[in-house]
Symmetry: C2
Subunit: 334 residues, 2 copies
């Protein structure tokens, strides 16, 4: 027997000198087994540390609960911060954290179909990923308590922010600072269906400008793939226009860093010649002295766990949709 392979009923039978049938009887209906034989089989069970596999597995699962997190791949620091909140909230509890990373819509679909069926989880958190009606129904039907973060669905609990308001806040701040040639930069990597938070931030931003009678020209709305290098390039184009903007609202801090890099390379003074506002308030926003719309990334993870655990305890409780507040953090860049 390989050292790491647990003993089976065959091993016990061999050890005790009986058939597996008799061992099975010993376990299930011992009164049908002769006394002396019973003793011999029990000794073998003890000696080998035998536990029927299904029971061993059930027993192993019983000790701790298991929370799954379906998360976009670790490329975005905001996901890491939410995950940190989740891990922190779970670390004091008797729960394991199981991570399923997603790098495509296909993969998300895959997970959402298999995770409710394999029966390994007590609860599930889905981070910043869209869930459709069929997916939501399956999760509910299989009784897997689920909390969504950032992308809500009416049938499942969620932790959200008001992205429209966030965009509006950025617009109002830049207007208050006296800016009139104002641009927006967001990312292109949006899911095919589902309103993306970045799109909502643009909606709010546009509304905020319109409320002050300021247009947001199409030339001042730029999208870049979610990488600093690509963002830098797009920002460089924007900043090299004949009449470039004097302020940019960047839909995520991560890409705001790309904008700052472009400014640095074009020797444009921030904030004197260019004001930059980001969104998220990532850990590294402080390093970059970035003015940004702060959302409680870590707290969103913690709160998701709190809601989930209460649903695991009382499955009949109604779903909850919680909106976390936004605040504007004024640093150096705007």
């Amino acid at each position: 027997m390989p050292p790491n392979k647990p003993p089976t009923i065959y091993d016990v039978a061999r050890h005790a000198g009986v058939s597996i049938t008799t061992v099975s009887r010993m376990i299930n209906t011992p009164d049908k087994v002769n006394g002396d034989t019973r003793v011999r089989i029990l000794a073998a069970i003890d000696a080998l540390g035998f536990v029927p596999k299904a029971e061993a597995r059930a027993r192993a699962m019983r000790g701790t609960g298991r929370i799954g997190v379906i998360s976009p791949f670790f490329t975005a620091p905001s996901f890491v911060q939410r995950l940190r909140g989740i891990a922190e909230a779970l670390s004091a509890k008797k729960f394991e954290l199981v991570i399923y990373t997603v790098d495509s819509a296909e993969r998300l679909k895959s997970l959402l179909s298999s995770v409710p069926l394999t029966g390994n989880l007590d609860g599930l958190i889905i981070l910043s990923l869209p869930v459709d009606d069929a997916d939501a129904r399956r999760l509910v039907d299989h009784g897997l308590p689920t909390v969504l973060v950032e992308f809500p669905h009416p049938n499942l609990s969620s932790v959200e922010i008001d992205d429209v308001m966030g965009g509006r806040m950025a617009a109002q701040y830049l207007l208050k600072k006296g800016h009139r040639r104002i641009a927006f930069l967001g990312d292109t990597d949006l899911p095919e269906y589902s309103l993306h938070p970045v799109s909502q931030r643009l909606v709010g931003f546009r509304q905020g400008l319109q409320e002050a009678g300021i247009e947001l020209p199409d030339a001042f709305v730029r999208l870049a793939p979610y990488s600093q290098e690509q963002t830098r390039k797009v920002a460089a184009e924007l900043l090299s226009m004949p009449q470039p903007p004097t302020a940019i609202f960047v839909a995520t801090d991560f890409q705001a860093l790309g904008v700052l890099k472009a400014a640095r390379q074009l020797k444009i003074q921030v904030p004197e010649q260019l004001a930059v506002v980001g969104f998220d308030d990532l850990d590294l926003a402080e390093y970059a002295d970035l003015t940004t719309i702060h959302q409680h990334l870590d707290e969103s993870g913690r709160l998701a766990v709190e809601i989930l655990l209460s649903q695991i305890e009382s499955p009949s409780r109604p779903t909850r949709h919680v909106k976390l507040p936004l605040t504007l953090i004024e640093r150096q860049t705007a």
Copy 2:
């Protein structure tokens, strides 16, 4: 089908017009099933209300399908990058990723005593955490294939770097750049036992300087808690000395950012007045244009998974100790 008999995989297969193999794949590795077929099978599962029987699954499965990772808490971006490598390597496999975060030596001890006993992991990766002889013996005795990353133990496979050499490389680079008043800044958060990589980087750094006849004065060796704010303060003290260093080797990129911040606040030009070299080459090193010793953080995670999976497949294979190379990435700060 008898009305009170729950549907089985055979019923689902018949209903969807596929084999039970394909249904099983849909449940366990859905990415290996064609999209249209997946939809059909899911519809059949939903229509029949099929739930796989736990006992039958337990019987049929050749393992737990789960890989555990014991990791320091997500405060350090380097752990996140290693974890990213792990997640990437596992995402194409049939394993779930279970995270156990560690925020104290007590917690580490607790995990290392309980995790091998639960029998619900196929393998374990331990990230940047010390493992003593008793821990290593327990892991081996219970047959839990284990790979260590960063902190090696002779009895377990590991993925490492040569931290001493890394320190030496930084020293040689700064000397080549003409620096003679050279300092070191590392972090104070070291485990109570086990030689920490940062200590080894200092050893190598010191050696590299000594080989050129340069002393590293005690006043030029500073330690700060692993936060940018604390690091900034310690760096500010260092930089405010009567004869401050003209170059600093910072043992981690994360803290190097704190040093750069201190320089900025003291209006010290980098690299003209102060050269800064970091270690790790974190994602954000590029943003900060940080010259740094590059280690393959993502790759260390991927390689750990590769070694682990080969040990799960063939437990009798001998342990492997792999050292990943280091390269110096020359950017703006030095």
